[in-house]
C-alpha cells in the first residue's frame, strides 16, 4: 500500500543506505513529506493507515517503507491528548516481526517519549504540587522537570 503524499523515491533512498535503525529513523524523521503526513493526520488516522497497510504481506519495497514511514510519523506527533494512543500503539507494534521495528520503537520511545522509557532513569517520581491548584502534574527526575502533563479526571 502506498500513500500518495509520501515521496517514496526519497524514502527509498534513505532505506537503501541505512546501515543502522538509528540512521533510518533519523532520516525518515527529517523527510519533508513524512513530516507533512504527521502534521496533517491525527494519531488515530495514522494508526488506521498502518493497520490497513500491515494487513497484507508487502509485495514491493514501498509497502514496507509505508509501514516504517507511518510508524515514524506517529512518533513525530506531539499532541498530548493522543499521547496514550501513540504509546499503546508503539507497545503493540514492537511485537511485529518486521526488520528493525523493535529497534525503531526503542529509538522513538527514547527520543519522543523519554519520561516513560529512557534507560537509566531508575525511578521517575510523580510529584503533585503542594499548592491548592493541582490542575497539572509534573514528572521529575533528579529535580528536573521532564514533562508537564495535564491531569485528567476519570
Amino acid at each position: 500500500m502506498k500513500i500518495r503524499a509520501l515521496d517514496y523515491d526519497n524514502l527509498r533512498q534513505w532505506y537503501m543506505l541505512s546501515n543502522t535503525p538509528a540512521y533510518l529513523y533519523k532520516h525518515f524523521a527529517k523527510e519533508e513529506t513524512l513530516l507533512q503526513l504527521a502534521l496533517k493526520s491525527s494519531v488515530r488516522e495514522l494508526i488506521g493507515i498502518f493497520e490497513e497497510a500491515i494487513h497484507d504481506v508487502p509485495k514491493e519495497l514501498d509497502d514496507l517503507i509505508t509501514l516504517y514511514a507511518v510508524m515514524i510519523a506517529i512518533c513525530q506527533k506531539d499532541a498530548m491528548d493522543e499521547y496514550e494512543l501513540a504509546k499503546d500503539f508503539l507497545d503493540k507494534v514492537r511485537q511485529c516481526e518486521i526488520g528493525w521495528f523493535e529497534e525503531l520503537v526503542s529509538i522513538c520511545k527514547s527520543t519522543r517519549f523519554p519520561t516513560f522509557y529512557a534507560k537509566g532513569i531508575q525511578k521517575a517520581t510523580l510529584v503533585t504540587p503542594s499548592r491548592a491548584d493541582t490542575s497539572t502534574q509534573t514528572i521529575i527526575d533528579q529535580g528536573k522537570p521532564l514533562v508537564t502533563k495535564e491531569k485528567r479526571n476519570g
Partner: protein, 163 residues
C-alpha cells in the same frame, strides 16, 4: 528460483564480539536480503557509477560490521563504537593529511551520531586530497570509492590504532 523472504520472516542472531578490553559489542546477523530490497540496488548503481563494487550485496554485516566486526556481523548501534570500541581498542584521531591505508573513517551526522564507517585503502594524493575507502552501503555491496563520494555525511574523521 529465488527464495521469497519478507522482512516479517527475518531471523536474528548475534555472535560473540568483544573489544580489546573484553567488553561485549552488541551485534546482529540478519543474513537475508529480500527480493524487494534486491530490486532496488539498480538505482544505487546508476547514481554512483564511479564507485567500484567489491562484493555482492548481503545483509550479514553492515558498514560497522565491516570495519569493526571483520565482516562477520552487523553492529546496529553507532554508539557502541564511540562508547566502547574507539576507547577500548585505543583508536586515535588523525589529521586528513596524515591518513594512511588501514586507517578508518567515521562519518558523523549533524547530531554527532556515527552514520557510517569505512576502511581507508589508499591515502590522499597530492592532487585529490581525499582518501579512497572501502565501505558497505546498507545492505548493498562493499564498494571502493573516494571517501566523500557517497550519500553519507561529509563530516568525516579518521582514526588509527598505533600499537
Amino acid at each position: 528460483m529465488g527464495i521469497i523472504m519478507t522482512p516479517y520472516d527475518t531471523p536474528k542472531r548475534s555472535i560473540s564480539l568483544q573489544t580489546r578490553k573484553g567488553n561485549n559489542v552488541d551485534n546482529c546477523q540478519s543474513g537475508f536480503l529480500t527480493l524487494l530490497e534486491k530490486s532496488e540496488f539498480a538505482d544505487l548503481e546508476r547514481k554512483y557509477p564511479d564507485k567500484k563494487k567489491r562484493t555482492e550485496p548481503n545483509a550479514v554485516y553492515n558498514c560497522h560490521g565491516l570495519v569493526f566486526g571483520a565482516r562477520r556481523t552487523a553492529i546496529d548501534d553507532g554508539n557502541e563504537i564511540m562508547r566502547k570500541i574507539i576507547p577500548d581498542d585505543e583508536y586515535h584521531e588523525i589529521a586528513l593529511q596524515d591518513v594512511l591505508a588501514g586507517d578508518i573513517a567515521l562519518y558523523f551526522g549533524d547530531d554527532g551520531d556515527i552514520e557510517h564507517s569505512a576502511i581507508v585503502v589508499s591515502e590522499p594524493d597530492s592532487c585529490v586530497k581525499i582518501p579512497m575507502v572501502v565501505s558497505k552501503w546498507g545492505k548493498y555491496s562493499e564498494v571502493i570509492h573516494l571517501a566523500t563520494y557517497c550519500e553519507y555525511s561529509k563530516n568525516i574523521k579518521y582514526y588509527r590504532v598505533t600499537k
